[in-house]
C-alpha cells in the first residue's frame, strides 16, 4: 500500500529544530563522556589513556565507596522525591481552590524556585549552623531545645536536612506542574462524581488523582532526574561529610572527576547513574503515561 507520509514529513519537520540543537550541544558531550568511560583516562598521567573496555565500570562496582554512595543516593532520592511529590500535591490542591488571597499565594509559591541555588545552599547552611543558626535559635526560643546543637554534623540527619533544602526549592515546580494538570480536569467529571455521591475526599481520590497521572509522571520523572544527580547543595553544605554521611553518587562523580582527576571512572560512574535514572524515568513513564 503506498504511503504518502504527510504525517511523517510534518513530524520530521517539527522535530528537526530540537534534534538540531541537541545534536550540536548535547550529542558530542554525551558521546565523548561515553568514550572516556571506556578508556583509562587519568589526567595526572596524560600520556597514557588506553582503551579498557568495561574495566572502569568493573572498578567502580568493586569499590566499596560506590556501594556506600548507592545507599546514600537511594535514601536521598527517595526522601526528596517522595517529600516533594506529597507536598506538591497538597500545595496544588490548596492553590487550585478559589479563595481570596489565592493569587498572592500563587506568587509566593515561586519564591523558593527563584532563589538561586547558591543562595539557597548558603541560606540553609546558615539556618542549620551549629553556633548561630536560625533553627537552633527558633527551637531554643520555643523551648524545644535546651542549647544549640549541631545539625548537619549529625550523620543521621545530614541527608534529611539537605533533602529538606532541596525539597523546599524543588517543590514549587512540582506544584506548578500539578496545578496545571488540575486545571485541565473537566469540570463535568467533578459534577458526575458529586452526583454519584462522592464527597470532597472521594472526588480527590477518584477524579483528581487519576487525572493527575500525567502531572505526577512529570513530577516523578523530573524530580528523580534532578535529585539523583543533585550536586550543588552537597558542595555548599557538606562536601560529602560528615564522614561519608552525604557521600552520594553525584558527589562521588565530582570527587572522582575533579578532585582525583580520574575522568575515566568518573564517566563510568556517570553512565551508571544515567542508566539508573533512565530506567527509573522509563518505569514512571510506562506506569503513568498515557500513550508514551
Amino acid at each position: 500500500m503506498p504511503r504518502l507520509g504527510y504525517d511523517e514529513r510534518a513530524a520530521a519537520l517539527l522535530v528537526f529544530p530540537v534534534v538540531a540543537v541537541l545534536l550540536v550541544v548535547a550529542a558530542f558531550p554525551i558521546l565523548y563522556s561515553f568514550w572516556v568511560s571506556l578508556h583509562d583516562v587519568v589526567l595526572t598521567r596524560p600520556l597514557r589513556r588506553p582503551f579498557v573496555g568495561l574495566d572502569n565500570y568493573l572498578r567502580v562496582f568493586a569499590d566499596e565507596r560506590f556501594w556506600i554512595a548507592v545507599a546514600r543516593t537511594t535514601v536521598y532520592t527517595v526522601v526528596t522525591v517522595a517529600a516533594t511529590t506529597v507536598l506538591a500535591v497538597l500545595v496544588a490542591l490548596l492553590l487550585n481552590e478559589a479563595f481570596p488571597g489565592q493569587r498572592l499565594l500563587n506568587a509566593l509559591l515561586l519564591l523558593p524556585w527563584a532563589t538561586p541555588s547558591v543562595v539557597n545552599g548558603l541560606m540553609w547552611k546558615w539556618i542549620y549552623d551549629p553556633s548561630y543558626g536560625l533553627l537552633n535559635g527558633l527551637l531554643v526560643q520555643l523551648g524545644v531545645l535546651e542549647r544549640y546543637r549541631a545539625w548537619l554534623g549529625d550523620p543521621d540527619l545530614t541527608l534529611l536536612l539537605i533533602a529538606n533544602a532541596a525539597v523546599w526549592k524543588q517543590m514549587p515546580l512540582a506544584a506548578l506542574l500539578l496545578i496545571v494538570t488540575m486545571k485541565a480536569i473537566p469540570e463535568d467529571l467533578y459534577r458526575a462524581a458529586k452526583v454519584d455521591g462522592a464527597g470532597a475526599f472521594r472526588r480527590f481520590l477518584h477524579v483528581t488523582l487519576p487525572a493527575l497521572r500525567p502531572g505526577l509522571m512529570l513530577v516523578l520523572v523530573y524530580e528523580t532526574m534532578i535529585s539523583i544527580r543533585h550536586f550543588d547543595l552537597f558542595l555548599i553544605m557538606t562536601q560529602g561529610g560528615p564522614g561519608d554521611a552525604s557521600f552520594t553518587l553525584s558527589w562521588f562523580i565530582y570527587v572522582e572527576t575533579f578532585r582525583s582527576l580520574r575522568f575515566g571512572t568518573g564517566a563510568a560512574l556517570s553512565y551508571i547513574l544515567a542508566m539508573a535514572t533512565f530506567l527509573l524515568s522509563y518505569l514512571f513513564i510506562r506506569f503513568l503515561g498515557r500513550r508514551l
Binding site: V119, L176, V180, R229, S270
Partner: protein, 321 residues
C-alpha cells in the same frame, strides 16, 4: 406564527433561602490554616533572607537571632545599586571588613550587569525553548509517526547524564563554536538543558486535549501547523506558562555550566556573581542575602504577570462524551 409573546409576568421574586454559613466557614478555616502553613514554609526562609539583608553582619549572626532587623538598614542594597564600574588602583581599592555595613565585596558592581545577563539569557531561552518544544511536543503527542516514542526517549535520555560529567566536553564544544564567554553559549546550552523536559511537559498536557478537536481542525482545513497554532497552542496556555517558567528559572538558577562557559561581566550570570561574594577572606552573609533578594524579584514579577494564564476549563464545552 406565534404573534405576541406569551410571557407570564415573573412572580414576585421569592428570594433564595439564605445560604448556610457553617460549611463555608469550615472550608474557610481549613483554607486559612493550610494557607498559613504554606506561607510559613514557602515564604519563611525568604522572609529571613529579606530580614537579614536589612541587618548588619553582626546583627544577622547574633545569638539568639534577630528575627526582625533591630535597626533596618538599606546599606546592603545601597551598596549594590551604588556600585559602579570603577578602576581599581591602590588608592581606590577596598579593604574588606564585612561587619561595618559599608563593606562591599569586589564584584558588587557586576551584580546589576549580571542580572541583565541572566534576564537576557532567561528570556531568550524561554522564547526559543517554546518555539522548539511546542513543535516537537506537538509532533510527538499528536502525530502518529514511526519512531514517536523513540524520539521522546532519546530526547529525555540527553538529560540523564550528570552535568558534572558533561562540563568538560561541553566546554570543548562551545569553544569549537567560538562562543566562550558569550550569552549565546549559555542560551544554546540552556536550550539543550531545558528543551527535553519542556517537551515532556507539553506532551503530557497535549495528550489531555480532546482528540476530536484536532480532528475538527484537520477537517476544517488545518495542516499540522494550523492544528498546532489554532488548537493546541491556545488550549495549552497553562502548560505553556509552566514550561516557560521552567525554562526561565532553570537558566536563572543554573550554575555549573555558566561557571565554565563564562569568564567575566560580559556574560556572567547572577549565580556566578553571587557565588563570587562568598569569598575566602570575607564573606558577608547579609550582603549575599541582599543579592539573593534582588535575584528573586525579577522572576517572581514575571511569574505574577504570566499567572493569569493558568486557568481551568479551557476545553470546557468542546466535546461531548
Amino acid at each position: 406564527m406565534s404573534g405576541a409573546e406569551d410571557r407570564r409576568a415573573p412572580p414576585p421574586g421569592r428570594a433564595a433561602a439564605r445560604r448556610p454559613v457553617a460549611p463555608r466557614l469550615g472550608r474557610g478555616l481549613l483554607l486559612a490554616a493550610f494557607s498559613l502553613l504554606f506561607v510559613l514554609y514557602v515564604a519563611g526562609p525568604v522572609a529571613w533572607l529579606v530580614s537579614s539583608s536589612l541587618q548588619t553582619e553582626a546583627q544577622a549572626t547574633a545569638v539568639p537571632p534577630n528575627w526582625l532587623p533591630p535597626e533596618p538598614t538599606l546599606a546592603n542594597f545601597e551598596a549594590i545599586f551604588r556600585a559602579a564600574e570603577r578602576v581599581v588602583t591602590y588608592e581606590t581599592r577596598r579593604q574588606g571588613d564585612p561587619a561595618t555595613g559599608g563593606f562591599l565585596p569586589t564584584g558588587a558592581q557586576n551584580l546589576l550587569p549580571s542580572l541583565r545577563n541572566s534576564l537576557v539569557v532567561g528570556l531568550w531561552v524561554a522564547a526559543l525553548n517554546l518555539l522548539l518544544s511546542l513543535t516537537a511536543a506537538y509532533a510527538i503527542a499528536v502525530i502518529d509517526f514511526r519512531g514517536r516514542r523513540a524520539t521522546l526517549y532519546t530526547v529525555l535520555a540527553t538529560r540523564v547524564i550528570p552535568d558534572i560529567a558533561l562540563v568538560v566536553p561541553l566546554f570543548l564544544v562551545i569553544r569549537a563554536l567560538g562562543l566562550i564567554n558569550s550569552l549565546a553559549a549559555l542560551v544554546v546550552t540552556y536550550l539543550a538543558v531545558t528543551v527535553p523536559f519542556t517537551i515532556f511537559i507539553l506532551i503530557s498536557y497535549f495528550e489531555g486535549i480532546p482528540r476530536d478537536l484536532y480532528r475538527a481542525a484537520r477537517v476544517d482545513g488545518c495542516g499540522h501547523w494550523g492544528a498546532l497554532r489554532q488548537v493546541y497552542l491556545p488550549l495549552s496556555l497553562p502548560a505553556l506558562v509552566a514550561a516557560l517558567t521552567f525554562a526561565f528559572l532553570t537558566s536563572w538558577n543554573e550554575f555549573v555550566f555558566a561557571l565554565v562557559l563564562t569568564q567575566n561581566v560580559e556574560a556572567q550570570t547572577l549565580p556566578i556573581v553571587i557565588s563570587g561574594f562568598v569569598m575566602d577572606f570575607t564573606t558577608s552573609f547579609s550582603f549575599v542575602n541582599a543579592a539573593g533578594v534582588i535575584a528573586i524579584v525579577p522572576p517572581v514579577l514575571l511569574a505574577v504577570l504570566f499567572q493569569r494564564y493558568i486557568v481551568s476549563g479551557l476545553t470546557a464545552g468542546a466535546v461531548k462524551g
